[in-house]
């Protein structure tokens, strides 16, 4: 019935004809124009586009941090414009993990406190929140930095703490703005594996990146240009479809799957 690929669940995030305009008249900036986008449970969608094309705006609108000037955003079944400020903040805290482009760690809190803070705000007991925080920190390989403050960490380490914060607890939607920007290639790949397995385990993800290598971990990539979605790699195709054409029995047929497989991380 649905055109979704294998293993994809119900729609978690839905943007319908979303526009976001800053200012008006001659000075109006159309940061987003008529964007339609669905993210399903189990699906990771990458967003690519030049600087200023509206990627961060798209993420902010999707996570309820910014309000579209036109169109609707539906998150986990709730239309955001129908919620009041408090309701939106609660939905955001419960359901959305956000990795900001500039990390946005609280300087006066340790890594573990930064990660557990949103959970505590949401009513999780302190001890429990700390356990979750330590688990999330170790998932991204910085468990040993739990008690350090942001200014005692390298950029890449701070970035991983920010990712841990977005992953702590049962987040349904992870929104990540350049989460690999400050990471070397191997660490960046490890972070993508964590994000991928979190999504495969039943979350949805929207990932902004300039690097095609990281976008390739997503099920599909949409391309933004001047606030408009200009192209998409489309739904998940048969794995290795391109490669199979590369040679009769070339490219290690033993490694190539014979058809779509549900990967489980």
């Amino acid at each position: 019935m649905t055109p979704s690929g294998p293993g994809l669940g119900p729609v978690l995030l839905s943007l319908v004809q979303v526009s976001r305009t800053h200012g008006d008249g001659d000075l109006a900036v159309h940061a987003l124009q008529g964007v339609d986008l669905d993210v399903r449970v189990g699906e990771l969608v990458a967003v690519m586009g030049p600087s200023g094309s509206g990627k961060s705006t798209l993420l902010n609108v999707a996570g309820g941090l910014d309000t579209p000037t036109e169109g609707t955003v539906t998150l986990a079944g709730a239309e955001l414009s129908a919620l009041d400020l408090k309701g939106r903040a609660r939905l955001r805290r419960r359901s959305v993990g956000y990795v900001f482009q500039d990390f946005n760690l609280v300087p006066a809190l340790t890594a573990a406190e930064n990660v557990s803070l949103p959970r505590e705000l949401d009513g999780v007991r302190q001890r429990e929140a700390r356990v979750e925080a330590l688990a999330a920190l170790s998932e991204v390989g910085v468990a040993d930095l739990a008690d350090r403050f942001p200014d005692e960490m390298s950029g890449g380490q701070q970035q991983r703490v920010a990712i841990a914060r977005a992953l702590a607890g049962p987040r349904r939607l992870v929104l990540a703005d350049e989460p690999t920007g400050a990471l070397d290639s191997v660490t960046g790949e490890e972070v993508m594996r964590v994000l991928r397995s979190r999504v495969d385990a039943g979350a949805g993800g929207l990932l902004v990146t300039h690097e095609a290598r990281f976008a390739a971990w997503a099920d599909r990539t949409v391309f933004l240009r001047d606030g408009v979605v200009v192209d998409s790699t489309g739904d998940r195709g048969g794995p290795g479809s391109l490669l199979v054409g590369a040679g009769s029995d070339g490219l290690g047929s033993s490694h190539w799957p014979s058809g779509p497989t549900d990967q489980d991380g």
Partner: protein, 220 residues
């Protein structure tokens, strides 16, 4: 490239039959460069001709046939490196691979023509290619996601495909930005100079981007 050096490196690990060389080569490179057995024997015989390898004399100690070797193929002949061969194998690891002349890359040629041909929608050409290359990247990445962490050789081969594809995407991003900037500059400057009159504006530092420089420059 060097099937020749690949086989030298394998023989440095010990004497092998032709079919073993073929198997090992494919296994160790994740099957990315399939060899046929004829190619293997041709290459091995050139190594012998050049004094880098030699057949292991029949019945020599330590050359006992292992079970499972197919009869008839290469009639059981095994090869080993000579001293010179061993030296060449060692030297190969130490020597960087020559980059050589740029390959005649269809994509570079296509875009070089696209930016100069009238009426071609260059951004559309770039976008179509970017989407296609990203699909390939997704395919490689799915294979990486499934690969076992211990299968280091296979992972490295996939990484190579990933980085090459990514470089292509970055180059496409760059082409797009450069074309957009050139269009803006031309619009601001009015009519463009006739071809061949060598405008000296916008000489960028660094090496010329392959494929977007003036057509006709010989890179070889």
């Amino acid at each position: 490239m060097s099937v020749r050096h690949g086989l030298l490196a394998l023989l440095a690990e010990g004497p092998m039959h032709g079919y073993q060389l073929r198997q090992e080569f494919e296994r160790r490179t994740g099957g990315t460069w399939p060899l046929n057995i004829g190619q293997v024997y041709t290459t091995v015989h050139r190594l012998v001709r050049d004094g880098l390898a030699e057949p292991v004399p029949q019945g020599e100690i330590g050359s006992a046939e292992e079970p499972g070797a197919p009869d008839g193929e290469g009639s059981g002949e095994r090869f080993r490196l000579t001293e010179a061969g061993r030296a060449e194998a060692t030297a190969w690891w130490a020597r960087p691979v020559e980059r050589g002349a740029p390959a005649r890359d269809e994509l570079a040629i296509k875009l070089a023509l696209a930016v100069t041909a009238p009426g071609v929608d260059v951004p559309a050409v770039v976008q179509a290619q970017r989407t296609e290359t990203l699909r390939a990247l997704q395919d490689y990445t799915r294979l990486k996601a499934r690969a076992a962490a211990e299968d280091l050789a296979w992972l490295l081969v996939l990484d190579n495909l990933v980085f090459v594809a990514e470089a292509e995407v970055r180059w496409l991003d760059h082409v797009e930005a450069r074309v957009a900037r050139a269009a803006a500059t031309n619009a601001a400057r009015g009519p463009r100079p006739a071809p061949g009159q060598g405008s000296t504006t916008q000489v960028s530092p660094g090496p010329p981007a392959v494929g977007v420089g003036p057509v006709g420059r010989d890179l070889r």
